[in-house]
């Protein structure tokens, strides 16, 4: 199965990855090889077979949604991990574009 450069660019956008021209070329070739390889799964008849998405058989595991106690010191450690901050607030680029009417 041959993937096109255009397909690779679309996948990279979906995956939030800025790829260089060389990387795009490399992944176009490599993904084609890999998707060729997995075609061997077509040898297996799976018409009457259902999917296994997980192996535990657990269903609807729920718990109370409670506020857990955190030491002030540990809270500060979380905040210290922020790449950019203003006081104790996490700073990020604007999510919405103001010019977009």
């Amino acid at each position: 199965m041959k993937l096109t450069l255009k397909e690779i660019e679309k996948i990279a956008t979906l995956a939030r990855l800025n790829l260089s021209a060389e990387e795009k070329k490399m992944y176009t070739e490599q993904l084609s090889v890999i998707f060729d390889y997995i075609e061997m799964l077509n040898e297996v008849n799976t018409d009457q077979v259902s999917e296994t998405y997980q192996v535990t058989g657990l269903k609807d595991v729920v718990r109370e949604d409670e506020v857990a106690f955190w030491e002030e010191e540990d809270k500060q450690k979380l905040i210290n991990n922020f790449p950019d901050k203003m006081g104790n607030l996490l700073k990020v680029k604007a999510v919405f574009d103001n010019n977009d009417e």
């Binding site: 939030r16 998707f35 061997m40 799976t46 077979v49 718990r63 540990d74 210290n80 790449p83 574009d97």
Partner: protein, 472 residues
């Protein structure tokens, strides 16, 4: 013999009798790291100061009669597992400054006993690899031959234990990342049944495969660790309750199956095959065992199934690594480019390749022919195992088709690298427990690992009988 070469059990006895202190034991491990790590590259972080403080505290515990089995024993942890106040990078530049304010559940349980965390181990970045050559902190070298790979992705932890830099290690196995490097380095590596050990605080790779387990110098040590870290955890909704089952064999004798497909696979090293076959011949003299030949016809499909599902779950899990709340953020003209540039610079070629494969497999055009198809074939692989386990108690296979290969040997051939996991991925696809045990050396003095696979949630049986088999 130096004290850093001892097993957990031997350390416990030595500490109890007062033959040595935890501080001395910790210093012995630190000295070994200082001597060898430059060459082997098994550690990303060494917590020398903190470890010595923890060791002093452990010595106090021992003195006041509060010693538990792991009190005062130095251990190391794969860098993709969170440890409180200790740098945890998963060997990824995007997490080069990440310091978790909490311990993963399994680590908390170990530290509550007073074990001493000595450092964090190098690994393939985010666990993506089978040779540890995919680490953004450089490859890990095999202590048996430094021109060869350690195996991966938990290469650093396997090397640290093989080279006596710590007494035991905690690592993570998605498709073979504990067992395969354990085999290459000549130590014991256990992948528990999926869902038995909490994965809270373990950086996720493929959520329906990931497990946490020990790398140790003996089967007994692996059993000691597994008994401490197992158990349901409300912080990990996939953990299951395991009732204490009596060890029961299917028939009067313990029946061990030898799956023929594992010995007939193309590319299997003749010496590896011979060492495993000889070991089987040796243990078949045990009158309490019965060895039978079995068939697992779906074996060859495990690798394509594994790579499609794992990459898909991976691409989704790694979406959270976006440098917003933690990690190394790069500049970008807008929010999209902050994400896309931070990820592009902070992840390496293999991680990006898996994200690309997974995103493609989950996209509308490819979903049915790849992801969905693989999940169906996965069902058949599980049925293969279920059928065989109606007949036998355990399966024995080689852990890897070859001993440790040379650095750079498979670097440009992705498929051949993926095939290094051919014997370890089937158990992972089915969520089964499996252990790798060192059983011999090749003529070039490279370790060979034997894999024992158990049926689902029968980890205790796997461990007890592994000891029986190995001690025979």
């Amino acid at each position: 013999m130096n004290i850093n070469e001892l097993t957990i059990k031997e350390c416990y006895d030595g500490l109890k009798k007062g033959d040595f202190t935890s501080v001395e034991l910790t210093q012995a491990c630190l000295a070994q790291i200082k001597k060898r790590n430059k060459e082997l590259n098994a550690f990303i972080s060494v917590f020398e100061k903190e470890a010595l403080v923890e060791a002093e505290r452990a010595d106090e515990m021992i003195k006041s009669g509060k010693q538990q089995i792991l009190t005062g024993i130095p251990f190391c942890v794969k860098d993709s597992i969170s440890t409180k106040d200790g740098l945890s990078t998963a060997a990824a530049k995007i997490l080069s400054n990440y310091v978790p304010p909490f311990d993963a559940t399994v680590i908390r349980k170990i530290r509550e006993q007073g074990a001493v965390l000595i450092g964090k181990n190098n690994c393939d970045t985010f666990g993506h690899g089978a040779s540890n050559e995919n680490s953004m902190y450089g490859p890990v070298k095999n202590p048996h031959d430094i021109k060869r790979v350690s195996g991966g992705s938990s290469g650093g932890t396997a090397v640290a234990i093989a080279d006596n830099m710590a007494i035991f290690g905690i690592a993570e196995d998605t498709g073979g990342s504990i067992r395969q490097p354990a085999a290459f380095c000549g130590v014991v590596g256990l992948r528990p049944s999926y869902g038995i050990n909490s994965r809270f605080g373990v950086m996720p790779m493929a959520s329906s495969f990931d497990t946490v387990g020990p790398i140790t110098k003996s089967v007994t040590d692996a059993k000691i660790i597994q008994e401490i870290i197992a158990g349901q955890d409300f912080l990990d909704a996939t953990t299951v309750e395991v009732k204490n089952k009596k060890l029961k064999v299917k028939n009067k004798k313990l029946k061990v199956g030898i799956p023929q497909e594992y010995f007939e696979i193309e590319g299997i090293d003749e010496e590896v095959k011979k060492i495993i076959e000889n070991k089987i011949k040796e243990i078949s003299k045990n009158k309490d065992l019965e060895i039978v030949s079995v068939s697992l016809p779906m074996t060859k499909y495990a690798i394509p199934v594994y790579y499609i599902i794992v990459s898909s779950e991976d691409s989704s899990n790694l979406a959270r690594i976006d440098a917003i709340r933690y990690g190394e953020r790069k500049e970008g003209s807008d929010l999209y480019n902050v994400y896309a540039q931070s990820r592009a610079e902070g992840m390496n070629e293999e991680v990006k390749r898996r994200i690309m494969i997974g995103t493609c497999a989950l996209s509308a055009d490819y979903y049915d022919i790849s992801f969905r198809k693989a999940q169906k074939v996965r069902t058949l692989i599980i049925q293969d195992f279920e059928k065989v386990f109606q007949e036998v108690d355990l399966l024995i296979t080689p852990t890897t088709p070859t001993p440790a290969f040379k650095l750079g040997e498979k670097k440009d051939d992705i498929l051949s690298m993926y095939l290094a996991d051919i014997f370890v991925s089937p158990a992972a696809v089915a969520g089964l427990p499996a252990i790798s045990i060192p059983v011999g050396l090749t003529k070039k003095k490279l370790p060979v690992g034997m894999q024992i696979i158990g049926s689902r949630l029968e980890d205790e049986k796997l461990l007890s009988f592994s000891n029986l088999i190995i001690n025979y």
